[in-house]
Symmetry: C2
Subunit: 418 residues, 2 copies
């Protein structure tokens, strides 16, 4: 199901390491900076034209790059731009949530190749059954990729809970009712060891998906993800900050009100008690209002809330103002610590955040010590609820960008042999 070329053939180990490192450098450069002629690559990477040609030939033999459009130069003949080739290799991202399991396959360019989703009731099924459904989706995805002739680089699974990456165990997932479940080992038992499998917190993966390669405003970001619970993730210098055990990003349980409201976690005054979806709905509507009905689809409840806000309904606007202020207070606490270039609002914050943004920005300016809120700006995520699977698929592809020789040669462009 996945094939990796890890033989050293006749190269010395040292030369192989250098070659891997340079192949990765060139591939990441094309990802971050876009298509380039070989001459431009040589000049910008400080390598000789012949070194670049050798590297590009090898990347093409591994189906990772291909020749694209002609580029007109100021002098001389037009040259061909090298670009990432989306056909050769894909990464799979998956998600285990209370209401569904889902997978997505992205190619090297980040384009969606395959998407699958199965609705289920995660509370009424046990962990082996839920993971069994996920394994089915993964198998179908890998098989579809095989048929397209694409190799699967790996699988990264986001779970809604605390995931201890040092032990590879889901320690605490109250929404699923799962405690100390070895998700990684269970998936490997079904899917085998050939496919690299990583499990991570879904909010961390969703945050990683917001860090657009090459975009300077998306290298130091704070992603705030609102549902009933509130979480998110931190990207610093383009890299996801996971912390020592993988537990980073549990923003919802920062205590922001001493002697505050009771939280589902047993503490008082956690940030999610004042900034989560329930806090908003409680303020915005009476208990018998249909938008308070948790059985109604979340998108429909938020659409109705948006409709009321757009009509100028005072109670709705006051609720959005109050919860928005609390979102801003938490964002300011974290921005004093992290000084992100951008606070990205995702989950329900993205759906209704345009009504909350003035309050968020006001509290951010008021609460951050540095002038002009430290330069931090507020943006709404455009990734929707697929952010976690996208981030997972991107993480799966990272191994290829780090070491392109993990994808086997399939054609021999030059006279060399693999």
């Amino acid at each position: 199901m996945s094939m990796f070329d890890q033989t050293t053939t006749d190269h010395s180990l040292a030369n192989l390491d250098l070659r891997r490192s340079n192949l990765g450098l060139a591939l990441r450069y094309l990802r971050d900076q876009g298509p380039r002629s070989r001459a431009a690559l040589a000049s910008e990477l400080g390598m000789t034209r012949s070194t670049i040609s050798t590297l590009i030939t090898e990347l093409a033999e591994r189906s990772l790059v291909s020749d694209g459009q002609l580029v007109q130069r100021s002098v001389g003949r037009p040259s061909t731009a090298v670009e990432l080739d989306g056909r050769g290799v894909c990464g799979i991202g998956a998600e285990v949530n209370v209401n569904h399991v889902s997978t997505i396959a992205l190619d090297l360019r980040g384009e969606v190749v395959e998407e699958r989703k199965l609705s289920l009731d995660g509370r009424s099924l046990d962990a082996p059954r839920v993971l069994g459904h996920l394994v089915d989706l993964v198998r179908e995805t890998v098989s579809a990729l095989d048929q397209r002739g694409a190799i699967t680089a790996g699988l990264t699974v986001g779970v809604a809970g605390l995931y201890d990456q040092t032990r590879d165990v889901l320690t605490h997932a109250p929404n699923l009712g799962w405690y100390d479940v070895p998700v990684g080992a269970m998936l490997r038992a079904d899917l085998g060891d050939a496919l690299p499998i990583v499990v991570d917190n879904e909010s961390n993966l969703a945050a990683a998906a917001e860090a657009t390669p090459g975009d300077p405003h998306r290298q130091d970001i704070l992603v705030l993800h609102g549902e009933v619970g509130v979480g998110g993730g931190i990207v610093a210098g383009g890299r996801l900050l996971r912390g020592s055990h993988g537990y980073a990003g549990e923003f919802g349980h920062m205590i922001v009100e001493a002697r505050g409201r009771q939280c589902g976690c047993g503490r008082r005054g956690c940030w999610e008690t004042v900034s989560g979806l329930r806090a908003l709905m409680d303020l915005a509507a009476d208990p018998d209002d249909p938008i308070r009905d948790a059985r109604m689809a979340i998108d429909d409840r938020l659409a109705e809330l948006n409709r009321r806000a757009n009509l100028g309904d005072a109670r709705t606007l006051e609720a959005l103002e109050e919860v928005g202020a609390w979102v801003g207070i938490g964002a300011a606490i974290l921005s004093n610590a992290l000084n992100p270039s951008t606070v990205v609002l995702s989950g329900y914050y993205a759906a209704i955040g345009h009504h909350m943004r003035p309050a968020i920005e006001r509290e951010l300016s008021a609460g951050v010590l540095a002038p002009e809120a430290g330069g931090t700006r507020v943006e709404l995520s455009t990734l929707g609820f697929s952010a976690a699977v996208r981030g997972g698929a991107t993480a799966s592809l990272e191994s290829v960008f780090a070491d392109p020789t993990r994808v086997p040669r399939r054609t021999t462009v030059s006279g060399e042999t693999a």
Copy 2:
């Protein structure tokens, strides 16, 4: 005053880049893992014995490594261990504080070579005068290093205030009374462009000094630094997290009490109003108590407080308990976000933290969602008030570890020419 060998000689650019990268890799490996035989280096770095020999010869010609003790092997003759050579190159760290300017020079091994400090009253002198005194100390340090035959790799200056690294300007330093001072440009005007000069927030540099290379418990750390103000820094994956403008680590101004105490910054409820030195002293002693006298040396005031706590004085212990609890509440907020392996307490927290630690650990366990406080442990800094200059000197040396060819060849060990 500093000499860099940036000529490419007869190497092609590409080969030079590879050589630099491999020289840096070997040098950092010796720093992080300690002295090694050439054979062990070759095996552990996955390079051939001859590649390693060439690299070590070049590092020795640049006075960065030397042959140390004989290592007995299980089979065959004993071999010589290669180790970092402390004599060839030093980094300078400096600090501009309200009460003093100071410098330290560390060699490649992190040993202190030179230390200078000048007490002054930063409030009564203007910025050019204070920086003039610092320039004198730096000149004396560089001259002393020259006399020892050591090259100065660079100068990194910590300032007590908000430093915008994108504009290279100290935007806001209320303790000094400095606003929008271009510290970097002013130092360069006096010291010239040959010496690389970087200016940073002093708490960030102090935090970087706590990240011990090679120690797995010191790669993801949260440093909390208490004085009258409270600040600190974040190290993630061994790298200082500076944020988009360099403003990260302003923990003292996280709002932890809605409608809380008035802070010097103009806001209410900032963490430093309940966790700073003034909060502790206000609780521990009456206004006419000598330990409340800000003119008394801070070390003496803390020594007296320690003495009272050791004697079991109830008021002192209650004050340490209450402020310790607030330190723990803030540490928990940040640990939910960052999941550090270690919270390092520095500044006054280090001096008296053994009396506060039970309260800090209790609140950390209570306030962190992940089990067992996410594995985070609490340690007291042992670096004292020299942490910022040490972190600065270490940062100055990073350029050498990144690219050892910045230090010129001085001897020719093999038959090659420079």
